[in-house]
């Protein structure tokens, strides 16, 4: 019994930890730029594909599987460059426009990236084989837990802490917080918004790609994973509260654990329950369950 | 019986107190000006009176009915309209459409789903008259966003008049208008309100010239409190008021000038 509960909770948290990364990317961009970036799902997919590619090349170059985490993280960071490309190349032209147009522009990016992936990797799923099991398992109260999942959870917790520190301590973080509270004010303070936006969007991108890269050993990269995930990430941020990092964290937890409880108890409602919560939240607590302000 | 009455209104944002126990009454046929230095709570007061903001405590009455925090839309229906300090328009609308939408709303025609608005001659004419009344007769087919600043302001005010309210609140109707036109605008406002049977006007105004020459009553606000509430003559004798409202520096100079009704420095 206890074993089952551990299994269920653990799997929920594992799912949550990847959701968190993507949702965090969504949040930081929305918080600062007021843009709901639908493309964050596509970043996740890109991260996954490039992750596989890096790991495979690394292995071919004779890197022991145990060190595969390095190429994965490298892949996550490597993709930072699509951030500025999209922000400078597309988004900046619509900053003065209505939110809905910005939303549509990111939708356009979703369409484009889907085919970019198809063009480069084709349609068959990409996956790394040994890597997932090479770290072995640990047994905890009779529950067998793959160490790799623990690594993913740990690293996304680490990133969460890192972001928390960045927001609280660093100058960049202060600027972000200032902008979230009052964009006009921080503009008035003579902060160069151009730079801030470029940085923030890149940060959001890397969070997404990192999520994809870290999750890939335990799964496989598939063309539609982006479109599928955005809906989940969207549920997370709505439940957690748009624009709030704390929201991303708890929102991910809620979605991840709830899903895995649903599967363990009433598998039929797996998806429904999440959308129902989303609607419930939007109706009764549009600012989200965990902080975030404006409705 | 007063048309509009405020009793002990208090409103604070965080620890900043914008209104600190404001009470007054406005009766029919009155033109009341609210003056005071920036941050005295003038605009907050208007927003509370027109239901945009709900006061922390205190009540607002329209005739004998309490309307505290009732919301602009309901108040507009009851007969309270306002214009805004910063131009507040429908940029895409032509002057005609702008005034028509207000009239449709007043006549409750907003939910006529299938009647072509173009064929509603009554409304067209009314809009036309109103436009002419506010000197926009020649510009009826120009989009609001393409009007000069002064006309935008007038259009905003005109749309408030189009509701034929009993009370109209004007938040700095002449701000951003060249000093020369200010008197003209005031004249327009008065004649318009006569024509449209508007009972009383409450305005926030910085231009002391206008204030003293047109108002029946002046309410001076300072730090959310009513400093004085009296006739222009009374006020003009009240050194304290003039000095707080206009700042110490020019005080004496102005104080002496006041009787000569010469133009005072008008801060934005």
């Amino acid at each position: 019994m206890g074993t089952d509960i551990i299994n269920i909770l653990f799997s929920g948290i594992f799912h949550a930890s990847t959701l968190f990364l993507v949702a965090a990317g969504l949040q930081v961009v929305f918080g600062v730029q007021r843009i709901f970036n639908m493309a964050c799902g596509s970043f996740y997919a890109l991260g996954a594909y490039v992750g596989v590619f890096f790991v495979k090349t690394a292995h071919a170059a004779g890197l022991p599987p145990a060190l595969s985490l390095i190429p994965l993280i490298a892949a996550g960071f490597f993709l930072f460059f699509i951030g500025p490309i999209i922000e400078r190349g597309l988004l900046r032209f619509v900053y003065d426009r209505d939110e809905t147009f910005q939303l549509l522009l990111t939708f356009a990016v979703v369409l484009m990236l889907e085919d970019v992936i198809k063009f480069i990797w084709g349609t068959s799923p990409q996956s790394t084989s040994e890597l997932y099991l090479v770290y072995g398992q640990i047994t905890w109260f009779g529950a067998v837990l793959p160490v790799y999942n623990l690594i993913v959870i740990a690293s996304s917790l680490f990133i969460a802490v890192l972001i928390g520190y960045m927001l609280a301590r660093t100058r960049f973080g202060k600027i972000i917080r200032a902008t979230v509270d009052n964009r006009e004010a921080s503009e008035a303070l003579g902060i160069n918004m151009k730079v801030v936006y470029a940085k923030v969007f890149t940060l959001g991108t890397v969070l997404g790609t990192m999520g994809g890269a870290l999750v890939i050993p335990s799964t496989a990269a598939m063309t539609e994973m982006g479109v599928e995930l955005i809906v989940m990430a969207f549920a997370v941020v709505v439940i957690g509260g748009l624009g709030s990092m704390k929201g991303a964290f708890f929102g991910a937890m809620v979605v991840g654990i709830l899903r895995s409880i649903a599967i363990a108890t009433y598998p039929e409602v797996e998806l429904l329950v999440i959308y129902l919560i989303v609607i419930g939240v939007l109706v009764f607590r549009p600012e989200g369950l965990f902080g975030g302000s404006r409705a | 019986m007063p048309i509009l009455a405020a009793s002990d209104l208090r409103k604070s944002y965080g620890d900043f107190v914008a209104l600190d126990g404001v009470s007054f009454q406005v009766h029919a046929e009155e033109f009341v000006s609210i003056i005071g230095p920036n941050g005295a709570g003038k605009t907050t007061l208007i927003n509370v009176l027109t239901g945009l903001l709900r006061p922390n405590t205190g009540k607002v009455f329209f005739k004998d009915r309490e309307i505290t925090g009732l919301g602009p839309q309901r108040l507009a229906k009851l007969g309270i309209a306002r214009s805004f300090q910063l131009v507040n328009i429908f940029p895409e609308f032509t002057v005609d459409e702008f005034l028509q939408v207000a009239i449709f709303s007043r006549q409750g025609k907003g939910t006529h789903f299938f009647t072509p608005r173009g064929r509603d001659h009554e409304v067209r004419n009314q809009a036309g008259d109103l436009a002419r009344l506010f000197g926009l007769g020649e510009k009826r087919n120009i989009q609001a966003k393409n009007l000069p600043q002064g006309d935008k302001k007038l259009l905003d005010v005109a749309s408030a008049f189009a509701l034929q309210p009993e009370v109209i609140l004007l938040d700095e109707p002449t701000s951003g208008v060249s000093t020369g036109d200010k008197n003209k605008i005031m004249e327009i406002l008065l004649s318009a309100s006569k024509k449209m049977g508007i009972q009383s006007i409450i305005q926030v105004e910085h231009d002391m010239d206008l204030v003293f020459s047109f108002s029946d009553r002046i309410i001076a606000l300072h730090q959310g409190r009513i400093l004085a509430d009296s006739t222009p003559n009374e006020i003009s004798r009240n050194e304290e008021v003039v000095c707080t409202v206009l700042g110490q520096k020019e005080c004496f100079q102005i104080f002496s000038d006041l009787f000569g009704k010469k133009g005072l420095a008008d801060d934005g």
Binding site: V94, L111, D115, A235, L282 | T50, G110, F113, L163
Partner: protein, 339 residues
């Protein structure tokens, strides 16, 4: 539309297009006529979606829900309840669309912009997972068959399917579009329409003019619900089989895409968009497998460079033309943008 004098080029275009739609199935290839059939369904739906987006300024990312609702209605009524009269089906579906619109709208119109978009998206996906999950009721991913409806009481099951679709059914749908457009034209040029535009441009001011912003948005949502459902009804017999992908969030995206492509701030823009989208997709898809990329790029281009869509571009050219005219003999600008 104040008045249309014979000089007005718009009138000529309008007549030309009408003629084209009338004779196409007689002259043009059968395949193109099939595409036009699809177009007719979408055109009706977009009239509704754009009342919300173009006129009331609310971007819905879940309106495919109503489209699918209409389409599934046809399937249910023809297969499960033996209701075969198209008129009855349309009526019932529209009522269903209106009722569901009223329910969902009541929740959604409390929010605007992103929040409105997300909430509608959530409802769309909820409906999607409903269609998918309640397999024994909705046929799951396989969806449901659509039987051939009676038109104006005529049982046409004897006619070969193609003749039916490209013959009577085509003109039936075309007539439906005509009626729908006329009704919508009246709506946007009514006081109500003007109030919606006021709300779109400046809700606060509209509120101060005594317009009940939320209520009017709700009305708009309800109407659009009915229209979109009707569009779904018209398309269903052409498909012959309805399935849940009709309400997946990307299909809602497609609806908005069409509107943007054509131009959301003109009356015929959305229809033009539906037409262009359908025919472009058809050509691009068979030219290269990466049509999504092309369309993504196209959407990006429109959003950034020409938010007014194709109609917007044409319109601005027209304005220039008109300006040149008015230099000579001053034409009346009032006939500009009353749609």
């Amino acid at each position: 539309m104040a008045y249309v004098h014979m000089k007005n080029p718009k009138l000529w275009v309008f007549l030309a297009v009408t003629l084209f739609l009338l004779i196409m199935p007689r002259l043009g290839s059968q395949y193109l006529s099939y595409l036009l059939l699809t177009f007719l369904g979408y055109a009706v739906a977009l009239l509704g979606v754009n009342l919300l987006f173009g006129i009331a300024g609310l971007l819905s990312f879940g309106h495919a829900l109503f489209f699918a609702l209409g389409a599934y209605m046809v399937a249910f009524l023809t297969t499960k309840f033996g209701v075969l009269h198209m008129e009855a089906i349309l009526l019932i579906a529209i009522v269903a669309g209106v009722l569901l619109g009223a329910a969902i709208g009541a929740v959604c119109v409390r929010y605007i912009k992103i929040y409105f978009g997300l909430l509608t998206l959530a409802f769309g996906m909820l409906f999607y997972s409903f269609l998918l999950k309640f397999y024994y009721f909705t046929g799951g991913d396989e969806g449901m068959r659509v039987l051939r409806p009676y038109l104006l009481g005529m049982d046409l099951s004897a006619v070969p399917k193609m003749q039916f679709l490209l013959g009577k059914y085509y003109y039936y749908a075309l007539a439906a579009l005509a009626v729908a457009s006329f009704a919508m034209w009246r709506i946007v040029s009514s006081p109500f329409g003007l109030c919606l535009m006021a709300i779109r441009d400046n809700p606060e001011k509209a509120n101060y003019l005594g317009i009940d912003v939320r209520r009017y948005r709700w009305y708009a949502f309800i109407i659009s619900g009915g229209y979109t459902a009707a569009g779904g009804v018209l398309l269903a017999p052409v498909l012959g089989q309805v399935d849940p992908t009709l309400t997946y969030w990307t299909h809602s995206g497609t609806l908005v895409f069409m509107i943007l492509l054509g131009g959301f701030n003109t009356f015929f823009g959305p229809m033009l968009g539906a037409f262009l989208y359908i025919f472009l997709q058809d050509t691009v898809m068979s030219l290269i497998p990466y049509w999504r990329f092309v369309f993504g790029a196209m959407l990006a281009f429109i959003v950034i460079v020409a938010p007014g869509g194709v109609a917007g571009v044409i319109g601005s050219l027209w304005k220039k033309e008109a300006a040149r005219d008015s230099a000579r003999n001053n034409a009346d600008p009032g006939s500009e943008r009353s749609a």
